[in-house]
Amino acid sequence: MRQFKGRVVVAGACEAEALVSHVGFNTLASYQSALQFGDKEVKCGDQNNPDLYKKPMLGKALCLPQTIGSTTGGMVLYGAFSKNMQPACMLFSMHIDPLAASGAVLGAVWTDVKMPVVDQLGDEFLEYVQTGDKITVSEDGTVTVHR
């Protein structure tokens, strides 16, 4: 078990299984197919992301450096919130990027969904955490990786 302390972007607590992307998470490429065709598991559609491609994202603790790609990113996340297709939480090793922040804020202000978002967990977090690890997120931005 290891603990990492980050900055709270959207407060909340949760427990979920880790899904880890070591490369930038392309929100549009990852979500567009699942959103459009109502994939119940919300499988990642980003062919350029070998860590996540075709893996289910629904309800996972999404561990990532940052999001990349189209500026529809925040809107796409908002679309995921509105259909309850969002991850359990988003855990960023780096500072959150504007597109992910937009999505997180839109979700927090305009929907009833509670999805904790923590950033600045550090490179070590992303080096340590593995897909399948159990993750606990606390209100104060402490992320515990159980293995």
Binding site: Q66, T72, G79
Partner: protein
């Protein structure tokens, strides 16, 4: 967050609950980046990345309905990204059914919303809103509330305007409120280059391949690109602007670049030179071997990687008038060389409606039609955004289209060879 008197009144709810929530959204967004204040949007027009009435994004339209019903005072007028449908673009019956009955069922509803919210014209749907014919051209130093990654990176880098990589919906909220949080690319500090890219290729690199390599390497950081002067010179003429349009789109979609500087060419690099570079930047050297390595690593996700191309898209981002003319000439020469009258692969060139209207006044448009090339205002990305297209062998010279769809990337000379019936 420092708020002026008007924003404080909005924060107290004195201009209605909805505007209060819009402000709250933008303030929280800014606080994630330690923004100290909200600053006025100074450009004449906004630009929205959302142009499609996708059934799956009904929540966005519901939100816009709320905004319209609340009777919020009219905000800044804006242009929008390209539309997803055009009957001129080849599609079969099944695709038409999927487009109209399952995907873009709310297109008319959404376009009506954009009219009410303030789109400048029904012709102004283009990702390249900054082209002269469309006319959404911010001044240097203008603060923008735009979204569309390729337009934002162009506005920052080539025009010297100031805009963060805002998301769809938030850009509209900034245009409605007339304020955006000040952070990142709005600040001098955020516009400094943290990477130096040294280009050491033998010939001018393909814009979309160079942009892809840089985007994948620097992600969201700001690159200062050296070594391009031998090909681009020091003047931002139409040819260079078109090159930088395509280059920037690839940096933004293959990575998350919102601003780049080209030594001796882009406005801030011209003014400030290497003062724009932070101390101890990271270095990335690009030569022909590196570009080839990047290209070879693109996954080919066609079911049959050796399939004969069924459709070709050129123009993501939308083409300029000169690009249309140059491509028309090149296609004509290629066909002649290969002893053909028409293109060997159904081909679509995409451009803004006002550019198409200008092009249609020239003889080139007659030739292009004769060659069998379809000219459209469509967004190729939105067109390909369905599972049927995954089964189709689509080729493109756009690295953005490659990133988001199953389209296979080829360089412009390769595309030209394929569509004119030659052999690679």
């Amino acid at each position: 967050m420092e708020l002026n008197e008007r924003l404080q009144a909005i924060e107290r709810g004195e201009e209605g609950e909805l505007l209060q929530r819009i402000l709250k959204t933008l303030v929280l967004y800014g606080e994630a980046f330690d923004a100290k204040r909200m600053v006025p949007v100074t450009s004449k027009y906004g630009h929205t990345v959302i142009s499609y009435g996708l059934k799956a994004l009904g929540a966005v339209m519901d939100l816009y309905d709320q905004i319209l019903e609340a009777g919020i005072p009219e905000g800044q007028k804006f242009t929008a990204d390209p539309k997803p449908l055009d009957k001129n673009v080849p599609s079969n019956l099944l695709e038409d059914l999927v487009f109209k009955k399952f995907m873009y069922t709310d297109q008319d509803r959404f376009e009506a919303q954009l009219r009410k919210l303030g789109i400048t014209s029904d012709d102004d749907y283009s990702c390249a809103c900054y082209l002269d014919q469309v006319g959404n051209i911010p001044e240097k130093g203008d603060v923008l509330s735009w979204a569309e990654s390729s337009a934002v990176v162009y506005a920052n880098s080539v025009l010297g305007a100031r805009c963060n990589r805002n998301s769809g919906i938030l850009e509209m909220m900034g245009s409605i409120l007339g304020y955006v949080p000040e952070f990142g690319l709005l600040l001098d500090e955020g516009r400094k280059a943290t990477w130096v890219v040294e280009v050491r290729c033998k010939n001018r690199p393909e814009a979309q391949l160079l942009g892809s390599a840089i985007g994948m390497k620097v992600m969201e950081e700001v690159p200062y690109v050296k070594g391009m002067e031998q090909w681009l010179g020091t003047e931002l003429d139409d040819e260079n602007k078109a090159y930088l349009k395509d280059f920037g789109a690839a940096t933004a979609s293959n990575g998350a670049v919102g601003l780049y500087h080209i030594e001796g060419l882009t406005p801030e690099a011209k003014e400030q030179g290497e003062k724009l570079i932070v101390r101890n930047p990271q270095i990335y050297v690009i030569d022909d071997a590196e570009l080839e390595r990047v290209k070879q690593n693109y996954p080919v996700i066609w079911k049959n990687p050796n399939a004969k191309p069924q459709l070709c898209f050129v123009g993501c981002p939308h083409m300029t008038l000169q690009q249309l003319k140059d491509w028309t000439d090149a296609v004509g020469e290629g066909l002649k060389k290969n002893g053909r009258d028409k293109v060997a692969v159904p081909t679509v060139f995409t451009a803004p409606i006002p550019v198409i209207k200008e092009f249609q006044k020239t003889m080139d448009s007659v030739y292009l039609k004769k060659y069998g090339v379809v000219l459209s205002y469509i967004c190729p990305l939105m067109y390909m955004n369905n599972p049927l297209c995954k089964k189709k062998a689509v080729i493109t010279s756009s690295n953005k289209l490659r990133t988001y769809t199953s389209a296979r990337y080829y360089t412009e000379p390769e595309i030209l060879t394929i569509i004119t019936g030659g052999r690679l």
